[in-house]
C-alpha cells in the first residue's frame, strides 16, 4: 500500500485538489466578467486583513471545526454522518434551553452546562439513526438526511408555538439573560491588554473547539476505544473477530459525533446570537463534510481546513460587498468544488501521482 511518501498523501494531493477547485472557481468568476486574481485578493484581504476579518474568519472556523470533527470521528468508523446540520440545530436547541430558562450567575458556570446541553441534545439526535444503522441495518446516510429535515421542522414548530418571545412576531426566543453571555474576542483581548475589533462575533468557544481537536486526537489515536473505532472502520469482520462489538462502536461513535456537532451551539447560539433563531446552523453542518474531507479526518487537518473554510466564508462575504456581480453564492460553488475534487474525484489526481512515484522508485531500485 505504501507507494508514496506520507507528505504526498497528507499535503501534496490535498493542495493540488484545492488548487484545482480554486482554478475552476476562477473560471466561473472569469465567465461572469470579473478578474479572478482581483477576487482572490479581496477574499484573502477581507478574511485576514484586519482583526475584524480575523474575528469573523475564526468565528466561522469555530463552527466548522465542531461540525468537521463530528464528520471526521464518524469517518474513522466508516460511518458517513451527513446529519451534522440537524444535530447542530438540535444542539443549539439544547444550549438555548440551558441558557434561556436558568438565570446563571456567571458565564463560567453557565458554559459547562451549555456544553453539556448542546452535546447531549446533539448526541440524542444522532442516537436514533445510529441505533437504526446498528440494529436494523438502515442506511445511516439516508436516515441522517431525513433527520436533518425533521430537525428543521421541529425547530420551526418549537419557535413558532412554544419558545417564541411573548408579543414578538418573529420566530425566535427572547434574548438570553446576561449571566450566559460569553466573553468575546474584544473582551478577551482586553484582559491581556490587546485591542481587537468590537463587532466581530469571535468568542471564547474558539478555544473550546481547539480543546476538542486535542481531545479527539487523544481519543482516536491514544485510547483503546479509538483503536476499536479505527479497527471497526478498517474492517468490520476483523473487528468482530477481535471481539469488538459493532453495535457498541456504531452507537458510541455516532453519539460522540452528534455531541460534537451539537456543541456548535455554544458558538453560534450562546456566543453570537444570544438567542435561538430559526436556522442557527446556516449550513455549517454540511461545511463540516468538506472540512473533514480536506482535513483527511485528522483533528489537525480539520483545524486547518476549518480555518480555511472560515476564510472562505468571511472572504466571500467581503467579495460580494466589493464586487456585487459576484454574489455570496460563490462560496457554495467553491465549497462544492472542494468537496468534489478532494472527496469524489480524489483518485483523478491520486492515481497518476501514485504511478509516478511507483515508476521513480523502480528506477532507483
Amino acid at each position: 500500500m505504501d507507494k508514496m511518501p506520507k507528505w504526498v498523501d497528507i499535503a501534496l494531493i490535498p493542495i493540488i485538489n484545492l488548487m484545482l477547485a480554486l482554478f475552476v472557481s476562477g473560471l466561473v468568476v472569469l465567465y461572469i466578467g470579473e478578474n479572478p486574481i482581483e477576487a482572490l485578493k479581496i477574499m484573502v484581504n477581507g478574511a485576514v486583513g484586519s482583526t475584524y476579518g480575523w474575528g469573523y474568519t475564526l468565528y466561522y472556523a469555530t463552527n466548522f471545526i465542531f461540525t468537521g470533527l463530528a464528520v471526521a470521528v464518524a469517518f474513522q468508523a466508516r460511518l458517513f454522518n451527513i446529519g451534522g446540520e440537524g444535530q447542530a440545530a438540535i444542539g443549539g436547541l439544547g444550549v438555548a434551553v440551558v441558557c434561556l430558562y436558568i438565570d446563571w450567575p456567571h458565564w463560567l458556570i453557565a458554559l459547562p452546562f451549555a456544553i453539556i446541553g448542546g452535546a447531549v441534545f446533539g448526541a440524542a439526535w444522532a442516537a436514533i439513526p445510529a441505533y437504526l444503522q446498528a440494529r436494523r441495518g438502515s442506511h445511516i446516510v439516508i436516515t441522517t438526511i431525513m433527520f436533518n429535515y425533521i430537525a428543521a421542522t421541529l425547530l420551526v414548530y418549537l419557535l413558532v408555538n412554544v419558545m417564541k418571545k411573548k408579543g414578538s412576531m418573529s420566530p425566535e426566543t427572547a434574548r438570553f439573560p446576561e449571566g450566559s453571555f460569553l466573553p468575546s474576542a474584544y473582551d478577551m483581548a482586553g484582559w491581556v491588554g490587546l485591542s481587537f475589533s468590537r463587532s466581530a462575533p469571535l468568542n471564547i468557544s474558539f478555544f473550546i473547539a481547539l480543546i476538542c481537536c486535542l481531545l479527539v486526537y487523544i481519543l482516536i489515536w491514544r485510547t483503546r476505544l479509538g483503536y476499536q473505532i479505527r479497527a471497526f472502520g478498517q474492517s468490520e469482520p476483523a473487528a468482530l473477530y477481535a471481539g469488538i462489538s459493532p453495535f457498541k462502536i456504531t452507537m458510541i461513535t455516532m453519539l460522540i459525533s452528534g455531541g460534537l456537532a451539537g456543541m456548535m451551539g455554544i458558538n453560534a447560539v450562546m456566543g453570537e446570537a444570544e438567542r435561538l433563531v430559526l436556522d442557527p446552523v446556516q449550513g455549517a453542518g454540511f461545511v463540516g463534510i468538506a472540512v473533514a474531507l480536506m482535513g483527511r479526518s485528522h483533528p489537525l487537518g480539520v483545524l486547518l481546513a476549518g480555518i480555511l473554510f472560515g476564510m472562505l466564508y468571511q472572504g466571500g462575504g467581503e467579495l460580494e460587498f466589493e464586487i456585487p456581480a459576484v454574489s455570496r453564492e460563490m462560496i457554495l460553488v467553491i465549497q462544492a468544488l472542494v468537496i468534489l475534487f478532494t472527496g469524489a474525484l480524489d483518485n483523478m489526481i491520486r492515481m497518476p501521482i501514485e504511478r509516478l512515484f511507483a515508476r521513480s522508485r523502480q528506477r532507483t531500485a
Binding site: 466578467g33 439516508i142 414548530y157 456581480a325 460553488v333 462544492a336
Partner: protein
Amino acid sequence: MDLMTTLQILDSALRLATPLLFACLAGLISERAGIFDIGLEGKMLVSAFMAASVASFSGSVWIGLLGGIGASVFLALIHGVASITFRGNQLISGVAINFLAAGITVIIGENWFQLGGRTPQLEGAARFQEITLPFADAMREVPVIGPIYYELISGHSILVYVGLFAVFATWWVLFRTRFGLRMRAVGENPESVDTAGISVVQLRFAAVIICGVLCGISGAYLSTGLSAGFVKDMSAGRGFIALAALIFAKWRPGYALGACLLFGLLEALGNRFQNIEILSVQIPTQFMQALPYILTVVILAGFVGKAIPPRAGGEPYVKER
C-alpha cells in the same frame, strides 16, 4: 368535505407529485444500476434554472425543456465520472453536486438577468400550458364521473401525463427488456455481468444519463409547469423527498407512483389547510411537512416491511485482472 374540495385537493396532489415522480424514477434507475444518487436535488435545481432561462430567451418551453435536460445530464455526467471512472465516493459526489447547483444557479442567474437570482416571469408558449383532454367539456355535466374527469384527470400540463407514462415505461424497460435485466444485474452483482462480457461501465453510465434526463424533466416541470419562472432554491428539498419516496417504494416503479402521490397529497393538504384537526387533536403543519421524512425512517427501520436496496449499490466496480 364535499366532492369539489376533495377533487381540488387530489388535483393539486397530482400536480405536486409529478416533479417528485420524475426525480424518484431517476433515482430508481440509477440506484437499480448500483449508483447511489443523493444529488437528485441539485440536478432538479439546475434543470429548473436552465429550463426557465432558455425558455425565456427562446420563447419556447420545449427548447427550455431541452436546455434543462442538458444541464441536468451535465451534472449527472460529473457524478458518473466521479463515481464510475474514478471510483470516488458516490455520496460525497452527490453532496458536491447539490452545493454546486445551489451556488451556480444564483451566480449565473444574477449574471444573465440581474433579478436577484430569479429568471423573468414566463408567459404563453414559454410555459407548459394546461391541456384539456378530449370530451372533458362535454362530460362535465355528467354526475360524479363528469367532475372527476374534468377536474382531476383533464386539465394538467402534458408533463403530468408523461410522468404517469414514465412509470409504466420504467417498469417495462427494467423488467421486460434485456437492457433492463442487465441494468438490474449490474446493481446486484456486477461481476456476473462482467463475466457475461457486457461492460459494467457502459451500463452504469447509461443509467446515470437516464437519471439525468428524468431529473431534467422534473426540474423543468418545476419552473415552467408548476410555476412561471425560476426562483432561488426552488427545488426546496424535493429531491430528498423523491429519495424518500424511492425508499418508501422499495425501488419499484409502481410503488414509486403510490409513494409520490402520497407525498404530493401531504403537500397539497398542507398548502390548503393551515391547521388540521383529527379527532379534535390539532396537527401542526410542521408535522405534515415532516411526515414524508418520518415515514421514510419508519420504513427504513423495517417496522413496516423491509426496504432492501440493490446489493452492489454505492460500491465502485473494480474489474479483476
